[in-house]
Symmetry: C2
Subunit: 419 residues, 2 copies
């Protein structure tokens, strides 16, 4: 089932169903243990659309993008992918020419087993940086996953795939929705991973989406890119963008339902809600995270400034430790706002700050809280999800970001020896 | 004595002497307990040049700059200041009109006691954000400090001042240098504070410099601003810029020595070394800090890009926790470099990374270390000061930044309840 969040309610036209990535018609999945991870853990997955599909993808903007990202982005047909091969435990990043050759070999083997042209196969990796892939394990792993596919159109196979792409995520992040459109019912399937600590390197976020509606690549891309902008691009655990981040959506038309304009709006809303639920669950499951904040900045002169202020607050270790300590320390929020605005930005001040329904700073000065409000504030600081608003004194552009707190466990997880 | 760092050797023309801020001729200092801090701790200081002086100052660029910063920056004659009044325990930041009125009152009272025009008095505050100054304590405190000044031209008085500006700094940060110029000997005095945790808000850095050379305001400003650019502007503990940061230098000519061009170069070198030593000691004394890294990024297309890469690495919580764990985790450094460069920045790659004399990444790929190098690397990771180099694959612009690690103590200090 999709993770639940008050920040991402499922719209009325959609309902949660079982089946994960293989809930939509015509998709097969498999997850196997290739031996890259220890102790027989699932670590290699293959996802396939049985029929031709349209596809859309977004990738990390990190200049040190991993080999599979570079391969898929630069030499696949990202609009007509039909399959993806994913390994966990090794990111194949900063591995030079050997890394690119290995990613290409993963793609070729998968394409051969599935009898597809290589351009229709995407490659993803997640795990350790700077270590060459153990191809002696990966190659038989791909063969085993491909062999398991024909019987793979069931919930267990989708679960195996979802498990195989995880690294140290505490909670699985998958699910499916059935969406009622004017034209009929279609299904969406999801599997994501991210922000568990990946020793010894950073967390990568991966997300795979399946859909059985009948759509053009342009319409599907518009829906998927929009949903990513409103979900995965708004989250931060520690402000660090991985070398391997990838979101990939396959849409195969197997339902025979062809959404019109209204249908696409409804499908887009369901996709938005699902990706936001997955994104928020990545924050909630972030390294050592104990609570998730949604921060909305309003009243900026432009959207870029609003986003800069939101990210400055969300990535401030002082703000993040205050939330860990359940301390409504608005002074640190004000300091981060001022830093982001810079000396010329004082026209955006004074600002107001609200924690949920409690206005704690009004026109740049601390509000006088009565006893009821003070009690409410303590209650708010103990919530697992907290809604924050910063109202700048400007024209009205806004931005939202979701972030976690900074805890002792974050330090413990990331200070462990890797070498 | 000035704090020691291998990153900031004292130049041959200078030698450390006692006396702190009052080592240069013609300066008086005092520090008293006004009652803003509890348990009779010193918390209010006054520094005065007995004769007219030239001055130079730099301030935070935070849009939410505190009242004393706004007052001093906007309505003082920052080239001809002769005195400064400082209080600790309350930052007088985000305090609205009342805060500006209180800062102006601090300045007026100090000016009256010292018989100076208000334009010649600077005001600084450090401590809690968002709480109005307790003027019933500050006013008698100013009177007491001014009264203590006449007998204040000794080391003890300078120590009192240096102590009064501290918040939770573990180590004092003051000292003095005697500099031999072709024209004769002059003295520099210093007192700084910063980056101990200031409950419940962020650390502020303040630094005061005295000098008894005879110089124009223009020459003094050039020296001080240059030294600040090469020291305090290159440090980061947690990437958070305070609302109150101020560096202020007074130069009164009392030595009668008028440095020529060569003399100014020598004086500038001594000033650079002292401010860098103080800046590095702020990092070393940072919240929970256990080690200090110097990172130099070379080979960038421009200095701005070099600085962006250096700061991305220095502020990455993943890099910082790795240093805490004594883990030479170059993968996290590469990820931060890639993030700062962005997708279009791949022309700067592949990069090289060295920890001191051990080249750990060569042309984007892990170097093969022999046993001696691996042992050396472990030794390096246990040093209190570690020198890092990132060599980008570009034209050659460079930048340096000094940073601390991220530890359990940082989280503990900053997660404590304030309310």
């Amino acid at each position: 089932m999709l993770p639940k969040s008050r920040f991402a309610p499922v719209p009325q036209s959609a309902k949660a169903i079982g089946g994960g990535l293989t809930a939509p018609q015509g998709f097969l999945a498999a997850g196997v243990a290739s031996g890259v991870k220890k102790r027989g853990k699932l670590d290699l997955g293959v996802l396939l659309s049985e029929r031709p599909a349209v596809s859309a993808a977004t990738f990390t903007s990190n200049a040190a993008a991993a080999a599979p990202v570079r391969l898929t982005r630069e030499s696949s047909d990202c609009a007509h992918l039909r399959a993806v091969v994913v390994n966990a435990g090794n990111a194949n990043a900063v591995t030079g020419k050997q890394g690119l050759a290995d990613a290409a070999r993963m793609r070729l083997l998968t394409a051969n087993h599935l009898r597809l042209p290589v351009e229709q196969v995407a490659v993803c990796s997640t795990g350790l940086i700077g270590v060459t892939l153990p191809m002696d394990k990966i190659e038989p792993g791909i063969a085993a996953a491909a062999a398991a596919l024909p019987g793979g159109g069931d919930t267990r196979a989708a679960d195996h795939f979802a498990t195989a792409i995880r690294t140290t995520d505490k909670h699985p992040k998958s699910g499916a929705l059935e969406v009622t459109l004017p034209e009929g019912r279609v299904k969406l399937g999801f599997a994501a991973k991210g922000c568990g600590m990946i020793s010894p390197n950073m967390a990568t976020m991966l997300c795979f989406v399946t859909c059985d509606a009948a759509m053009s690549a342009e319409h599907w891309t518009e829906l998927l890119h929009g949903a990513v902008r409103r979900s995965f691009n708004l989250i931060t655990v520690d402000g660090q963008e991985s070398t391997n981040d990838t979101v990939l959506g396959l849409c195969n038309g197997a339902s025979g339902v062809q959404p019109g304009e209204e249908g696409r709006v409804l499908l887009g809303r369901a996709l938005d809600a699902a990706l936001l639920a997955l994104a928020v669950s990545i924050v909630a499951d972030g390294e050592g995270s104990t609570r998730t904040m949604r921060l909305t900045v309003t009243g900026a002169s432009d959207a870029g400034k609003a986003e800069a202020v939101a990210r400055a607050v969300a990535n401030s270790p002082l703000v993040k430790t205050a939330f860990y300590g359940r301390d409504p320390n608005w002074g640190r929020i004000m300091q981060a706002i001022g830093q982001a605005l810079g000396r010329e930005g004082h026209t955006h001040l004074p600002a107001g700050i609200a924690y949920e329904d409690v206005l704690i700073v009004e026109k740049g000065q601390p509000a006088e809280l009565d006893e009821v409000q003070r009690a409410r504030l303590i209650e708010i600081m103990h919530q697992p999800e907290i809604d924050l608003t910063v109202a700048l004194n400007g024209p009205g552009e806004q931005a939202t970001v979701y972030f976690s707190d900074l805890t002792h466990d974050y330090v413990t997880l990331n200070a462990e020896y890797s070498t």
